[in-house]
Every structure is written in C-alpha cells, then in structure tokens.
Symmetry: C3
Subunit: 488 residues, 3 copies
Amino acid sequence: MGNCCEHFRNFFCGNKNTNVRVSLPAVCFVWQIAMIVLFGVFIRYDEESDSHWSEVKKHHNISSDIENDFYYRYPSFQDVHVMIFVGFGFLMTFLKRYSFGGVGFNFLIASFGLQWALLMQGWFHTLDHSTGKIYIGVESLINADFCCAGCLIAYGALLGKVSPVQLMVVTLFGITLFAVEEFIILSLLHCRDAGGSMVIHAFGGYYGLAISWVLYRPNLHQSRRLNGSVYHSDVFAMIGTLFLWMFWPSFNSAITDHGDGQHRAAINTYLALASSVLTTVAISSMSQKKGKLDMVHIQNATLAGGVAMGTAAEFMITPYGSLIVGFCCGIISTFGYLFVSPFLEKYLKLQDTCGIHNLHAMPGMLGGFIGAIVAASATEEVYSKEGLISTFDFEGKFENRTVGTQGGYQAAGTCVSIAFGLVGGAIVGLILRLPLWGGPADDNCFYEEVYWEVPEEEESIPPILEYNNHMIHKHPDISESNFSVDQN
Amino acid sequence: MGNCCEHFRNFFCGNKNTNVRVSLPAVCFVWQIAMIVLFGVFIRYDEESDSHWSEVKKHHNISSDIENDFYYRYPSFQDVHVMIFVGFGFLMTFLKRYSFGGVGFNFLIASFGLQWALLMQGWFHTLDHSTGKIYIGVESLINADFCCAGCLIAYGALLGKVSPVQLMVVTLFGITLFAVEEFIILSLLHCRDAGGSMVIHAFGGYYGLAISWVLYRPNLHQSRRLNGSVYHSDVFAMIGTLFLWMFWPSFNSAITDHGDGQHRAAINTYLALASSVLTTVAISSMSQKKGKLDMVHIQNATLAGGVAMGTAAEFMITPYGSLIVGFCCGIISTFGYLFVSPFLEKYLKLQDTCGIHNLHAMPGMLGGFIGAIVAASATEEVYSKEGLISTFDFEGKFENRTVGTQGGYQAAGTCVSIAFGLVGGAIVGLILRLPLWGGPADDNCFYEEVYWEVPEEEESIPPILEYNNHMIHKHPDISESNFSVDQN
Amino acid sequence: MGNCCEHFRNFFCGNKNTNVRVSLPAVCFVWQIAMIVLFGVFIRYDEESDSHWSEVKKHHNISSDIENDFYYRYPSFQDVHVMIFVGFGFLMTFLKRYSFGGVGFNFLIASFGLQWALLMQGWFHTLDHSTGKIYIGVESLINADFCCAGCLIAYGALLGKVSPVQLMVVTLFGITLFAVEEFIILSLLHCRDAGGSMVIHAFGGYYGLAISWVLYRPNLHQSRRLNGSVYHSDVFAMIGTLFLWMFWPSFNSAITDHGDGQHRAAINTYLALASSVLTTVAISSMSQKKGKLDMVHIQNATLAGGVAMGTAAEFMITPYGSLIVGFCCGIISTFGYLFVSPFLEKYLKLQDTCGIHNLHAMPGMLGGFIGAIVAASATEEVYSKEGLISTFDFEGKFENRTVGTQGGYQAAGTCVSIAFGLVGGAIVGLILRLPLWGGPADDNCFYEEVYWEVPEEEESIPPILEYNNHMIHKHPDISESNFSVDQN
C-alpha cells in the first residue's frame, strides 16, 4: 500500500524547474482581473456603508451614527487583520533562510484570498436573490479575513516546500472549499462557530496536512540543514506569536452577537490563552534533560487555548471552564510537538513544517467537540430564556431545536469540516503534483534564494570598530572590490 | 545649466563636521520650550475633552457618553499612530547600517512635528477668533499625525544623507508648508481629501524629492556599499510595510464622516491594497530573469493602492473601482522602482533613498486626479440627495457647487499640493546646504556610527556551542580581554 | 553595615544548580491548578458579559448594546494588552544573548500574573459579599493587565540574573502586594490614579530595586561581556519602545471616566510623551563627546513622560502642563541613565539591568507628586461643579473632601506605594536567596542557554552567494558534515 502510494506520488514528479517568471505573473494578473470583473458584477456596499445610510437611519428610526455596525466591529476587525498579516506572517519567519517567503508569500496569498472569499462567502451567505448582488460591510471583511486564515494554516504545513504559484492554487481551492463547508456547517446544520474552531482551524489544519501528505518528499533530508531556526529568526517569530496571542480574544469575538456575546467571547479566550502558556512551559521544560525551554513550543503551543475556544467562547462556558480548556490544550499541543509530529513524519510520511497538526488541526477538532458538549449542557437557568435563543440563534425554522440536538449538530459539523479538509486537501495535493508549478527540488527546500532576490551575507558588512574614512582612503581597492555588490 | 546648478550646489558645501553635540540639543531645547510657551498661550481642551463635558451633554441634549467623538475616532487614531511611528519607522530600517537612524530619527521628527502641527493646523483651521484659542480633541491628534506623515515621507528621500539637525529643519518647514497648502486646498478650494492623497502624499513626496535634488551628492557612490539591505534588515522593514498596509483603511477613514463615511472609506482602501499586492508581485517577478521577487518592491509598491485611494476612499467609487485603482497603482509603482528611479538618478540627479517618488509622489498625484474624476461623475442617484451633500460638504457658501465644479477644484488642489512641495522643498534644500547642520560626508552616508553609539559586532559574541564555564575558568584572560567592550 | 549586609547576603548563597526541570513544571502546574479551583469558586461573568444582559438592558432601560462597557473600553484594553506582552517583552530583548528570556519569561509571568490579579483585585475591590463571587468584565481584564505591569517592571531590574522559577515567585508576591497597596491607596485613601504612576510604576520600580539589592552579585562583572546589546537586538528593543510609547495614551485612559475623562487622559499623555522624546535626544546627544545618540536612552527615557502622567492625565493639567511634565521627565530619566544608575551600582550595590529606577521608580514617584499638586490646585471654575465631583469621585463618604485634602492624600498614597515596594521587595528578595530556585551563576548571567534551547550560530548558514546545487553535488561530504546540526 505504502509502495503503491509511493509510485503514485512519483508518477507526477518531473524535473524541477523553479522559474516562475511566466506562471506567477500570469496567475496574479488573470486572477486579479477576474476579481475585478466579478466584483463589478456582484459586489456592492451594504446599507451601512452606502451613502444612502442617512435615509436608512431615518427609515429604521436609528438615533445615532454610533449604531452603525462599523463602531461595533471595526476595532476587532483591525485586530483580526493584524493576526492574518503580521501574526501568521511572522510566525512563519522562524526558518533561518525562509523569512522572506514566510512573511511575503503569506502577504500574497492572504491578499488574493480575501478578495475571493468576499465573493465565495457572498454567494453562499449574503447574496440578495432579488437583485443578484452581494452587499458587503465590515462584517464581510472580517469573514473574508477568517477565510484566509484557513489557507494560511495550510501554508504552515507546506512552508518551504512549495512555489508561490502552488500557494495561489492552494488558496483558490482552499477558499472555495471553505465557503462550501462553512455553508453546510453554519447554514444547513445551523452550528455556532464564531471563532472557527471547526470551520477555520480543523478544516485548515487537515486541508494542509492532506496536501502535505500527497506532496511527501522522501529526500527532504537533503534540505535538513536549512529546516531550523537561527537566533534572530526565532525572535522574529515571537512577534507573530504574540500578536496572534494578544488579539485572539478579538478573533473569537469579532462576529459574535453585539453586547454580551462579544464581551463574553473576549473574556473566555483571554483566560484560555493565559492558561495554555503555563502548561506549555511546564511540558516544554519537563521534556528536556536540564529543564530548558524550547522556542518551538513557546511559539506555537501557547496559542492552542485560543484555537480550542473558537466555538465555545461565546457560550456560558464559565471562566474556570475556559482555564481548563487552555490547561488541557497547552499540554496536548506541546505533546504533539514532542511526540506526534515525529511519529507522523516517520510512519505516516507526513511532513508538517510548522506543526499545524499540533496547533490547529488537533485543538480545532477538540474545540469543535468542546463546543458540542457546552452547547448540549446549556440550560435556560444559566442563559436566561432570551439569552439561550440569541446565543444559539434558535429562531425561524430552528425555533424548536433543543440544546441536546444542537450539541449533536455541533459534533456533526466538526466531522464535516475534517472530512472537507482531508478529501479536499488530497485532491488539491494531486493537482499540485502536476509538473507545472515550479516547486523547489528536494535539496532546495526551506531556501528562499529560489524565489527571492536575497541580499549578500552580513559578513560582508565592513567591521564597524575598525572601519573609518582613513582606511578607505588608504586602501581604495578594498572598499571598491570587496563591497561592490550593490543591492538597491 | 547642469553645470551652473553644480556650482550653485558646491557654493554652500564646506568641510564636513558631523559633530552635533551643540546644535542638536540646542534645536531640541529651544523648539520644545517654544512649543510649551505657544501651547500655554493658544492650546486648550475642546468641549468633548474638557471636564465641562457633562454640561455640554445637557446643553446639546446628548443622551450618552458614547456620543463623545473619542469613541468614534480613537481606535482609528491609534492605528494611524502606529503607522506613523512603527510603520514609517520600520519601513526605513531596511538599510544594513542605518536601522537606528531609520526608526530613531523618525521617532524624533514625528514627536516634534506633531506638536508643531497642532499649533499650525490650529491657527489655520480651528482657531476660535473670539477667544484666540485653539481647542483640541482626538480629531486634532489624528490631523497632527497626518501632518507628520508628510515630513516622514520626505525623510524617505533623504534617508542616510542628512543629519538629525537637518531633519528637524525639514520638519519645521514641512509642517508649516503643509498647514498652508492644506488650508488652501481644504478650506479655500473646498476639496475633499480625507486620506490625503494630495495634501499628504503628493505634497510630502515632491517636498522630499525637491530637497533631495538640491542636496544632490555627486560622490554618493563612495557610500554605495552601505546603500543596501542585509537579510534581517529586510525582515525588519516588513514590519513597517505590514503595519502600514494593515492600518491604511484606518488612515483613510480616520477623519471621514461618522457612519457610512468611515465605513465606506475603510472598505475601499482594504480592497485597493489587496489588489496592489497581486500586481506588485506580478511585475516584480516578471522583471527578473528567473522570476524571483525583489523585497524592495514588496516592501513598497504593495502600499501604492492605499496612497492612491486617499482622496476617493470616502466617495462611492464602488468596490470594483477600488480594485482597479489598486491594480494600476501596484503596476505603476513597481515600474517606478524598476525604471523611473534609476532614470531620475541618472538624468535628473535625483537621489531618492526609499523611492518615495514611486510610493508617494506619483500615486499621490494619481490619487488626487482619481478623486477629481470620481467627484465629477457623482450623481444624486448613486449618493442620494442627502448623501451627496454630506459627502462633498455642499453647505454654507458651497451650497450651489456642482459635482463638475468640485471635480475641477479637486484637480486644482492636486496641482497646488505639488507646487507647494516642489517650491517649498527647493527653498528648504537651499537652507539645508548651509554648512551649519552637521550633515555626513559622501563616504559616510547610510552609516549610522556618525550619529549613534553602535554596539560591537555580532562576531564578538562568544560562540554558543563551544562556550561554557569550563573554558572560561581555564582561560580567564580570554574572557576578560576579548570581551571587554562593555556597552551598557 | 555594608559588610554586615554582605554576610547576610552570602548566608543564603549555595552552589548554583540551574536545572529547573522539576521546579518549573511543578510551579506551573500547581499554580495553574490552584487558579482553576479558585476561579471555579469565585469568578463569574459580570452583568454586561453574562447572557442575562438582555434582561439587564430592559431593567436599567438601556437603549442599545453599544452602551455595554465592552465598546467603551475594549479598544483601550487591546492596546494595554499589546503594551504588556509586546511592549514590555520586546523592550527586554536588547541584551545580545537574552532575547528569548526577555520576551519569553515576560510572556510566562504576565500570563500567570493576570489570572492571580483577577482573583486578588477581585477579593479586594469587587467581591460581592452577598454571593461571595467576583464578577469580571472588560475593566477587570484591564486592571489585571495593569497589575502584571508592576511585576514586569520589577523583572526589568532582575533581567538576566534570575531563573524562571524565581520570576514566578516574584510575580506571586508582587501581585499580592500590588492588590493590597492598591486597596489602601485607591479605596482607603481614596486617591485617583488612573494610569498608575503610584500603584504601578512607583510600586513596581521600588519592588524590583529592593529585590535586586538583596540579590546583589559582587562578581557580576564575570558576565559583563554579555551585559550589552548587538545591532539587531537594539532594533528589536525599539519594537517594544514604540509600542509602549504609542499605546501609553490608551494605558492612562483605559479605566478613566467615560467621555471627557478618557478623552482628556489620552490627549495629555500623547503630549507628555512627545515632549519627552525631544529632551531625551537633547540630553543623550550632549552627554557624548561627538554628540552621538545612545540607544539605551532612546529606548527608555522617551517613555518617562507617560509614566509621570499616570496620575494626572485625567485631571485638567492643561496641554502645556503635559508638555512641561514630559520635558522635565525626559531630562531626569536620561540623567538617571547617565549618572544615577552607575552611582547606585557603585555605592548602593544596586544592579538594575534595564534601569527601571530611571524609567519607572523615579518618574512614577514624580508622577504621584505631580498628581497631588494638580489635584490640590483644582478649582470649580476650571472643572465645573459636576466635573470636579466626577473627576475626583467626591461622592458617598468622600462628599465633603476638599481638593487640598485630596492633594495631601495623593501625596500620602505615593509614599505608601514606595514603602510597599521597598519592604515587600526586600522580603521577597530574601525568599529568592533560598538555594532552591535554580538561579544562574555569576558568570552565566545574561546568558540564556542556561534556560533555553538555543539554535546554532548564524555562521553555520551556508553562504548564499557561493552555495548552489552544483557545489552540494560535488562535495556531498561538506553539505552533510558541516551543516548536520538539525534544530527542528
């Protein structure tokens, strides 16, 4: 069976040509032009961002501009935006020679992804069938950023092993799959998943893992000297970690109900994250002979509490419940980095550069089931009658759903997201094996000179303590010859 | 003619003395004390930040504290603040040996500039003639930060080639000119320019370019080994790029109308920026033999969409219109880095360290004209009657202005800003040529040891893998002698 | 006397064993489990974050969700959160070989501290005696973050000289002492201290200094080659500085009164900080032979204005008053780095790694007295009758307090905070001298390989310009042997 897979994998594997001078511009131009055309046909401002707003205010008897959804959600939107571009981007700068690729390709695919997400999510969720238009506002922007997060998580598993063109393909299909599974989970199954444990993390995680499994490189060890960090690249990665960690309460509360919904989601996430840090440190220290901490754990497993609270954050999980979730997920995620990732690589042939299995896939799945349990155990006493209805949106055709049923559907939603991730990822992985996309050779992985102009080494900087005008004037040949590589 | 300019330039050029021990403290103290005196005479809290607010609330029948402008604008203000200090500051850390100067001098001149801007903008825009006082609130702080942005853009052209004292002079005159041109454009011509394509970017860009042209250094090639980046300095610069990129929607929406105005400006800017990223990547990749990306383009040209939306963001430019603007500006700006900057340097003797011509001057000018076109094509149908009046502020003596006339004035405003930048910059450039300011010699440009205490080289850190207590104890002389440079 | 202290210090000093493999996990697990249990017993959502909110709204006749305190305070909370984790964390990355420790241990102790702070501050301030529960909302989260700030300041004095276990002890006692002194100052003495000049900065500063004094290491010079920065670590530290500087207006306004209180506190802090930057630059430049700037001053003393405005920011100190405060504190703090710190180290045996005496202790104390003076000189004319009452909270049993009395109590509060810091710190210092905690040896201070797995040196990266597939294939032995240290 393993042999069969091996053959199957090799079938598509041609000679490596990493020149993307035609394919990358072509993909960018064609897709961006397509976006413009589709936006022209479909996308319009919603009533809160259209200049007819003053009429809407009168019509709906809204007393003040502060009631515009912008003021409820814009601060959270900006926090989420920082998480997507700086958080995910810098978290992936930890490799010694792939920092440009980590932060730069993250920038590229998120910028494409958010446009495509506005369209896909619009078609599935907010298309006005009478006019055939999609009306967007600040909540749409948040959802588009969320949608990108799924693809960026998948990028974490592929980091250093794929070309930018492949990443654009991953994003195109990832956003499409995301919108479909989100529609099934949120609309058909009527699950609640404000922070996206299921629809973002479980889906994105398994999507990336499935792609990575199909793209298995048996000779990746040829690049293993580059698959690691240096001192300052680890500090850069901490920028990503901290911005993710700090703004996760905004992530989980960005699109929850106005008022107590946003308030409670922020508190719960804040507590779960704090708890994760302590257990991550504990396990990391225990795992080393001398009790030393490992930066990989601190950079990643500390975030697991936020992932796992994605579904339950808006529920009445209680403050100590949040701490318990964070406590467990910090442990599980750190164990994942210590034992599960090496196991997966060795026995399942799964190469997961950033360990997204430990940070997103597993905690996301757990978060989905935690959400199911918390939903199933909700009572009118704890939530109040009105609170129960608004928290779980038991309105319209879901008016008579019980919390027990809701819990069941939440669990089902988790399974749907995983299934979409695995099947979708396997298919996308096969597409990526076509020898069209300019992926790097096995001995050039994690090495960004393949796709980036990289400046000369630090060693060629003139030593500061010795260098002065004098020396230059005495030895013009040195100053001219040694330092003649002009980068700008 | 060129020869004549040459002579003129050399006239002022004496021997280089970079000691600023007297001039820098003198400028800082005198100007800061002047600020204190002028603030004492002129600046007071406005009615929303004064403790008489509770009386004002009663008087104006305001029902809630949330109606205080603080809650409408403070989150955007903080985003703008981050752009000014971290965004512009870190964008200028890309040089291998000028990171302290990039972020540190940016910090200095913005901190001075915002105080002077509160005064200058206050005198021109919000001076209460009955009391002779300027009343400040959160919107004043945003405007002061905006005003600094103009000078920081100019700094981009001068980076590495001027002393901190010269930068303070650039800022003093820059803020002054800014306030005057802003008064002409916004008050006299009654243009709309919420995100400042004209008043900030076109003005700041041409102001910096004119200064740089006057300060042309024919022997700058002597420093060319330092006019480039190293690996980690490029990653630092990405911090600047990303914070500018992410918060640009806040920049363009910070002072637009409450409600739909802020909401729409944020959406439009978000879309234009996303579109810029894709076309920047496409052109950057096409320009290299092997399709490799250039960090200079990714760091800068991706932002061009935000610059160009500065005027039109609050208009009903439509979502696909925003994408088109971003699409074009990403291309134009990247072409600028590839072809225009080398051309300007070679034929116009214009040395533009950060390429502000491509990122600010040209897209800013374009943004002004885009704003003019969008304004001229506004209709009551699209905006609604009330929306048209509030968007273009057709009130008071401008009640009867048509959108066509408005478009004409917008275009005129763009020309005014460019003229102010060029003429003002040329004059300030001449002032900077006086041999008083401690500018660096041609072979010491882009080299910050001239103005900063710089720590010893990384090479002198004890190698981690070999170093241990043992070795130290065996060779106490090594540990004492080699590492004796104490920095703290 | 000095000799006596010396003996006392040495009494506790055993052989150094830096293995924390048992103690660190034990402390993390035990304390985190204790938090969960105590949260289970005591902590509940407050009425604005509980799902009964819709009933509360009806009951109190609140018209809109936007009146939920979340919308008043959440943006400021996130800014404060960034200050605590990125601001303080990155400010402490300046050491050449302690960046992981700076940002990582900061992360650990703040994550523990905020949980313990929610409990301690809850017991003292918001415990509902009828139910025996503490009800938390967004304001509680801000206060918990504030509480951590006190301990992080103390960490600044200890940076590089203590083990993570010792830091956990410092935090446990620090939070406890903080809650007690805060209760005395804010509740018993009824002082106003929104930004915490007294309760946070003066307390935290003297607490850290007292600990450091007790932990004096006579042979610290053995590590002095590591007690300094390298080029890029100074740039990392500027990230911390700038995020602290930019968000300080949010810090000082986060828990002031809704409306004009928050608005005015933000403006005052913004101005004081700007003024600090100019005088810091001036003094720093004057202090060097050639007028060069010192990064240590720019990184720290520029923030002194924000510290000193912690108490007075919400008062009517006037804009020029704020500038004066910043002006003086920039000077005092820079002088502190130049003269006071070396003096303290030489004559008082006080080793203060980050110079918190100059940035927190001294400006915090000054801020307390400035607050006292401004309070004492308040008049009904300036504040309005209602404004005076709301600003100083002259209600209930403090209804008849005069501003003069208030000024006296403010001054007394400052003294209380200093006393708590000094006495508490001395006691905690003694506890830390027990040979249980795994502190580093004198020749291993400021060196993080003691507590962290550190990646190999940058030197072992393959040189980019020479490295290519060719070379690898020709010399497989090189690629395999030299680069065989795999870090991930």
